[in-house]
């Protein structure tokens, strides 16, 4: 276990931001920490790095206690904060060089590592431009390069894809996967968009109000939760019958005469019968992939 936390609690002004969190991450794993805003993702990450002290609980990162040996942890862990900031008047290269110096990496090697990292995130051409001229996406990628120059054993990325267009996000996630595959890095990333990160995460944990409400492989958590059907030429009578049916979880009418029905699995034969009887056309019937919201609501109810 490269990360091990037991019973983490953290109180901010009388509010429990973390309320008994357990977390275990294995070497070479990509772990996604998911949860809605304010669920405690950033708090967890700051505690793992030794940047905030937990109010209670035990933590081990790379075999060290971040509270007592923060430097040992920080030597081995790379961190990209959620709102990553740089020295605006310095160039991308200079910003990274400051980091390599703080890590005591000799100049010659540092130069090589910096150029390599900038190349990996696609910023090599603008290496010597001041960061003030960078777009949000470029900054985010520079933040990733900032982690890479350290060649950490564990990379902790807080919302690495926030505010990035889908294509850019996919690129970043591909790069994260590449790092694990080639450099053997362990990655802990946080996000509130399950569908975005589920592609790269080996395992995800879902936080809600400072507790882990669900944890496991993505496929297990996203097991279809019912079906969605789209019906055309639907009459008001059909609609009324559907709304009365127990297995129909939601009935919407996005366009006149068209119905979108969310239904439980066992309702499928009934739905087909209803459609035939009322002369409606079934346009679509597909498994419904649960959203993050639904998943944690589902686990939260239990």
């Amino acid at each position: 276990m490269i990360v091990e936390a037991k019973g983490l609690r953290k109180q901010y002004n009388g509010v429990w931001a973390l309320d008994g969190l357990d977390l275990a991450i294995e070497e070479r794993e990509i772990y996604g920490l998911l949860g809605p805003n304010g669920s405690g993702k950033t708090t967890t990450i700051l505690i793992l790095l030794g940047l905030t002290e937990p109010s209670a609980g035990e933590v081990r990162v790379c075999g060290h206690d971040p509270v007592r040996e923060p430097l040992a942890v920080k030597r081995l862990v790379g961190y990209m904060p959620e709102k990553v900031g740089f020295y605006e008047e310095l160039s991308a290269f200079e910003n990274l060089r400051f980091i390599t110096r703080l890590n005591g990496i000799p100049e010659g090697e540092a130069r090589q590592r910096i150029l390599e990292a900038l190349e990996q995130v696609g910023l090599k051409d603008v290496a010597h431009r001041p960061v003030a001229t960078f777009s949000h996406g470029m900054r985010q990628r520079l933040g990733l390069a900032d982690v890479l120059v350290k060649k950490p054993r564990l990379a902790i990325l807080d919302e690495p894809t926030s505010g990035i267009d889908p294509e850019g996000a996919a690129q970043i996630l591909d790069l994260i996967r590449l790092l694990r595959d080639e450099a053997g890095m362990t990655v802990l990333l946080s996000s509130h968009l399950l569908h975005q990160v589920q592609r790269v995460c080996d395992r995800v944990g879902i936080l809600h109000r400072g507790r882990m409400v669900a944890e496991g492989r993505v496929a297990e958590l996203t097991a279809p939760g019912g079906f969605v059907a789209v019906l055309a030429q639907a009459s008001p009578i059909l609609r009324a019958r559907l709304e009365a049916a127990e297995w129909a979880l939601a009935v919407e009418e996005p366009r006149p005469g068209e119905l979108q029905v969310t239904l439980a699995e066992e309702g499928r034969p009934e739905l087909l019968r209803f459609a035939a009887e009322e002369g409606a056309l079934l346009l679509e019937l597909r498994p419904k992939e649960p959203t993050l919201e639904e998943i944690y609501l589902r686990y939260f109810r239990e």
């Binding site: 700051l46 430097l71 709102k83 020295y87 008047e89 400051f98 110096r101 703080l102």
Partner: protein, 309 residues
């Protein structure tokens, strides 16, 4: 800490803020020294004892002496180097990135303070060298040993004084979340100590010990002592009182009035050790103020939650 020191130093030296302020100081220093040298040419006798020291303290024409100018304007440079040291890192979002690196948190604030001090040292030393150069050119002979020693002490004192203002600026940068409020607080403090406290001291002394032109000498002395006592709370006055005996070798820490009341006090120069002793309490006071400011900044910073949101 070396990496932090060099980065911050480079930042300071490259900043427009630093450039403008030090340019002003350099220009004023150059002008006052130039005028001082012209004074020597008109009155060659003055160039006999400690001519180089005189360049720092004599006020040519309407200009203030270089010493009072430094006492007044130097703090602005120092405090402006420090006022956004920490809070700008928070607003830029660089704190968590830097503190996630394997450095001690105190190395960061120490590095910032030392870099500020280094920057100030560069300014002060280059001004003194400039004055040397001009003096050498005009007088035709270099400063002698005692003069050099006194100038060395002056350098240390000036740095200590500016160090206090730097520490104050850094303290504000830790206390205030926004750079605008810390800048405002810094400039307000500067104005208070360089201008208002002098006015307040005068007013309070007038109220407590009213004096008229024909009042007895004791009343005047009491009035002056009270005023000086209030002024001692100001680092500006401490600095002036500590440096005057160094730069004016015959100065004995007595006001002109005291000299008038005790005729027969010699006015020949004191040795450096004695001069140091005259300004010693002020020097210690200055050192204490600097330490208190920096320690406060240090403690608050070490306890600060680093999350920006």
């Amino acid at each position: 800490m070396r990496a932090i020191f060099w980065k911050e130093l480079a930042d300071h030296l490259g900043s427009r803020r630093f450039f403008i302020l030090s340019l002003i100081i350099l220009v004023v220093a150059g002008t006052s020294v130039y005028l001082g040298i012209q004074g020597f040419q008109e009155n060659p006798a003055a160039a006999r004892d400690f001519p180089y020291l005189r360049l720092f303290t004599t006020a040519p024409g309407a200009l203030p002496s270089f010493l009072s100018f430094l006492a007044f304007f130097g703090p602005l440079l120092a405090v402006l180097l420090g006022f956004d040291a920490v809070n700008s890192e928070f607003t830029r979002g660089t704190v968590s990135r830097v503190l996630a690196q394997p450095i001690f948190r105190d190395a960061w604030i120490n590095g910032k303070f030392l870099a500020g001090l280094g920057t100030l040292a560069i300014v002060v030393v280059s001004i003194v060298l400039l004055i040397f150069g001009l003096g050498l050119y005009a007088l035709g002979f270099p400063p002698d040993g005692p003069e050099l020693a006194r100038l060395g002490v002056f350098l240390v004192l000036a740095l200590l004084y500016l160090g206090f203002w730097l520490a104050l600026g850094i303290l504000y940068s830790v206390l205030f979340r926004s750079t605008a409020s810390s800048a405002l607080a810094a400039v307000a403090t500067w104005l208070f100590f360089t201008l208002f406290l002098y006015m307040i001291a005068g007013v309070v002394a007038d109220q407590v010990v009213p004096v008229r032109a024909d009042s007895p000498a004791e009343a005047w002395l009491k009035h002056e002592n009270l005023r000086d006592f209030i002024l001692r709370f100001s680092p500006v006055a401490l600095f002036e009182e500590a440096t005057l005996p160094i730069l004016v070798p015959s100065y004995r820490g007595l006001s002109l009035l005291a000299l008038l009341m005790q005729p027969g006090v010699p006015t020949n120069p004191l040795p450096l050790g004695q001069s140091l002793l005259v300004g010693w309490p002020q020097l210690v006071g200055l050192l204490a103020l600097t330490s208190v400011c920096f320690a406060a900044a240090y403690l608050v910073f070490m306890r600060r939650e680093i999350r920006t949101s």
